[in-house]
Structures are given as C-alpha cells and as structure tokens.
C-alpha cells in the first residue's frame, strides 16, 4: 500500500550506498528532478543508475555524476546536448558503462517487473553489444538472450497519483516510468498532484497502485530542459 510522504527527505530516507536505482525519464521529459536533487542532498554513493541517458548539463543525473555518487550507468544513449559530466568521468575511467539498446533496455526492465528472467530478441544479434550473450535460433532466425533488470529503488515522475498509489503520466513523460515502477523493490514517486483514493478513473490508471510504495507531492515540478536553458548547476545542499 502506497504511503504518502510529506517531504522528499522522508521519501528517500532508507536509500543506501551501493544500491541500484532506476530513474524514470527520457532526456528531461519524465525525469523526477526533485527526487534526484533530494537524493544528491541525501548523499548516497557507489550507486548503479539505470536511465535511458547519462545526464545533460549540470542538473539531474549529470549532477549526481558530478557529485561522485554514480559507480555505473546502465543506459542506451550517454550523449546529450551537454554530456560533459559523464563523458569526462568515463574517459578518465571513473565510471562504468553498460550500454544497452533502447528497446532491449525497456524490455529488460519490463521483464524484471513481470517475473521473466530472460527473453530472446533480434536486437543486437551479431553486434558488439551481444558479445558473450547466449544466442539461439527460432524459426531459422537468430536471436540474443537478454536478462531481466531489477533495482532496489525506482524514482518516478507522475502527473496524478491517488492515495492508493495509482498513477497517470503527462504525455511523453510516460516513457520508462511505468516500467521502472514495476521493476524495483521500492518505488518512490513524485506526483504533481495527489488526490483521494478513487480520484482517478480506473480506466485511466497507467500504473496500478500495487507497484507504488511512496508518494510525495511536488506541485510545480521543474523541467530539466528549463534548468539547462538557464545554465543551472545543482550543488548539494549544506547538511
């Protein structure tokens, strides 16, 4: 049953060093910037972060990297308008990268949430990204075996939440969010609005409450893109 937290600090309290954290979003859309910045304040380190990208500018995941919190990125596209935070650390050997084709990344996360330990996909067969992975032939076509991805924590950005934890998303901000919400031990959601249980039409629910552990309302969430346009730089708050 989802628990409504009154602060970001409360929502993130038990995150530990060394955890694997899925962070929703594709570029800036659907990125839970307030949760990410609160996690920077929290200070967990040695994290494995799963996201489509690897940060842009000096906010969000890029700021996590700049604060030395990320040991490893699992992503499909560690490039962006301003990828310096990741690029510099990667080229200096300071951060590990597991590069996963985007559709395979999405499917591995779904598999983690759905209890499917492995599946076969045509994607990547015969390429560097399939090296070392089992392959198999079905109906005379070759496929690569891919494993599920799970996480300790998922940080999710939703539009509306009700107190049962049911979620909706805003336009293309949906992207990886509903998948990651299924695949983590603890799913922590920032929602623009938290309404009473039953305040969302059951037909409109995208993420059913069973996948959600904690909710915190961020009524006017900032867009990563907006921060980057003003050259924002997130610095850890003094403790």
């Amino acid at each position: 049953m989802a628990k409504v937290c009154s602060t970001l600090v409360e929502a993130l309290a038990d995150i530990d060093d060394g955890m694997t954290i899925m962070i929703g979003g594709f570029g800036g859309s659907g990125a839970p910037i307030e949760l990410i910045h609160a996690l920077i304040d929290h200070g967990a380190k040695d994290l494995t972060v799963i996201n489509n990208n690897a940060g842009n500018g000096h906010v969000g995941i890029a700021a996590m990297i700049e604060h030395g919190m990320v040991r490893k990125m699992i992503c499909s596209f560690p490039r962006s308008a301003d990828p310096r935070a990741f690029t510099q650390l990667y080229l200096a050997g300071g951060i590990e990268l597991e590069l996963v084709p985007q559709g395979t990344l999405a499917e591995r996360i779904r598999a983690g949430g759905a209890g499917i330990p492995a599946f076969y996909t045509p994607t990547g067969f015969g390429t560097q990204l399939a090296q070392g992975k089992p392959v198999a032939e079905f109906d005379s076509k070759s496929y690569v075996q891919e494993r599920w991805l799970k996480a300790d924590i998922a940080l999710i950005k939703a539009e509306q939440a009700d107190r049962a934890g049911n979620l909706t998303y805003r336009m293309a901000a949906r992207n990886f969010n509903p998948l990651m919400a299924m695949a983590a031990q603890t799913t922590i959601v920032q929602a623009t609005e938290i309404v009473e249980k039953g305040g969302i039409d059951p037909e409109r629910v995208i993420t059913p409450g069973i996948f959600v552990d904690r909710l915190v309302q961020i009524a006017d969430p900032v867009q990563e893109e907006a921060l980057n346009r003003e050259d924002a730089r997130y610095e850890r708050a003094a403790q």
């Binding site: 983690g112 949430g113 759905a114 209890g115 107190r163 299924m182 039953g198 059951p202 409450g209």
Partner: protein
C-alpha cells in the same frame, strides 16, 4: 474416525475466517475461485486489503445486487463484482506481471494435495476428462505468501498433506502455509511445521490423519473455532 472428525472439524467458512486473520493491513491479495473466495467475507473492516483478479482488475469488491450485474465487470470466476475506491483496470499481460513478478502479498488456493516440500497439486485429478488450468500455475509463483485452504483429509479420509504428491503438480515447492479443517501448518525447509491445531484433536490423531511428519517448532497454538 471420519464421522467423529466431521463433528469437530472446521467448516469451510471457519477455515476461511482463520485465513482472513493473517491478512495484513495494506495487502494485495488474490483469492482463487471457489472456496478461497470465502476469505473476503471475513476480512475485517479495519484492514485495507486490495483484491486482485487475473482478468485485469485491482480493487474489486462484493457482488452487486441481483439484477445490477454488469457483465463487463467480473472476476476470474466469471462472477459479477463491483469496484472499490482506488480500483484500476489493466490487460492480462500486466495482470500476470503482477502475479509472476512477485507483487502480490498473498495468494490463496485450494488443494487436492500438498507435499511437505511445498509442492501443490490442485488442477487435475489425473483421471481424464477435460483438463483445465486457468491461472493456478501462475498464481503459485510470485506471491510473497502462497497459502492453501483445504479440508485436512479427502472425503474418503485420505491425507491431503503428504510426503509426495501423487496427483499432477500445479507447482513445485510453492506453498508456504496451509489452513486446514483441523490445523494450521507451515512449510519450512521442506518440512511441515504445525503452528495451530484444534484443542479437540490430540496431536497423535492429527499426525495419523497427515501423510507426512508434522514437526514442532516452539509452541502449538489453539486453532480458534469462530462462531460465524
């Protein structure tokens, strides 16, 4: 002993009542078709429990009044239900992602046989006819607790808790707790551990009605006989 048993054993409703006591506040629960569905009747109002049904509803409630049925709003047993606040609809693959992915806190099913290692046989008597499995083989995998409600013995008086299932298996090593008409038994490290029994049945008699050794780990509580 069977007729004597009949006088002391719990009714299905009483077994369901006992199973309902263990459901935690906030739990997501799937109750199998038939006998397990009775459990919802004994859910206390001070616990907020959300019921899942395989056909894509989370948060359904009681049956509607006769004549008020909406046949697009049914449960896995094809019976009309109603919605509670906070319900949601989803398709079958998402529904079984909840099941297989370990998101349910509890699933409760009936049983033909349960083995001491937690194997469950509940889908086929193996005697021919038309086989049908539904969601049982999925439900036994994934829920954090997988409980069974059952008579302690068959109508013929044969044990249903056994060393090894002789009927076709639904799942291996999946059952965690068994609520019977005589006892509450956990499966721990491939052994039956007796947690509760009726005061009215001596341990040796209970053991005699059980097809595998009943282990004791700490005290054995009295299985309550509620007036329903």
């Amino acid at each position: 002993m069977t007729s004597q048993l009949d006088s002391i054993k719990l009714s299905n409703a009483q077994i369901a009542w006992r199973a309902a006591q263990d459901i935690e506040d906030g739990a997501y629960v799937n109750l199998g078709i038939g006998f397990p569905e009775l459990i919802a009747r004994f859910q206390s109002d001070d616990k907020d429990v959300t019921y899942h049904t395989e056909n894509g509803v989370l948060g359904f409630g009681e049956a509607p009044e006769e004549g008020e049925e909406d046949w697009d709003l049914i449960n896995a047993g094809k019976k009309a239900v109603t919605l509670r606040e906070g319900a949601s609809f989803f398709h079958h693959a998402d529904s079984f992602a909840m099941v297989r992915g370990g998101h349910l806190d509890l699933a409760v099913l009936g049983a033909y046989q349960v083995a001491e290692n937690g194997d469950l046989a509940n889908w086929s008597t193996g005697k021919g006819g038309v086989p049908a499995v539904g969601g049982a083989m999925d439900l036994v995998h994934g829920a954090k607790r997988m409980a069974v409600v059952t008579d302690h013995v068959t109508k013929k008086g044969d044990p249903k808790l056994v060393e090894t299932c002789t009927m076709p298996l639904t799942g291996l090593a999946c059952v965690t707790r068994i609520y019977t008409s005589l006892a509450v038994v956990d499966v721990v490290d491939a052994r039956f551990v007796l947690r509760e029994k009726l005061d009215t049945i001596p341990f040796d008699d209970l053991q005699a009605l059980t097809g595998a050794k009943l282990h004791i780990d700490g005290s054995i509580a009295a299985l309550q006989v509620p007036t329903l």
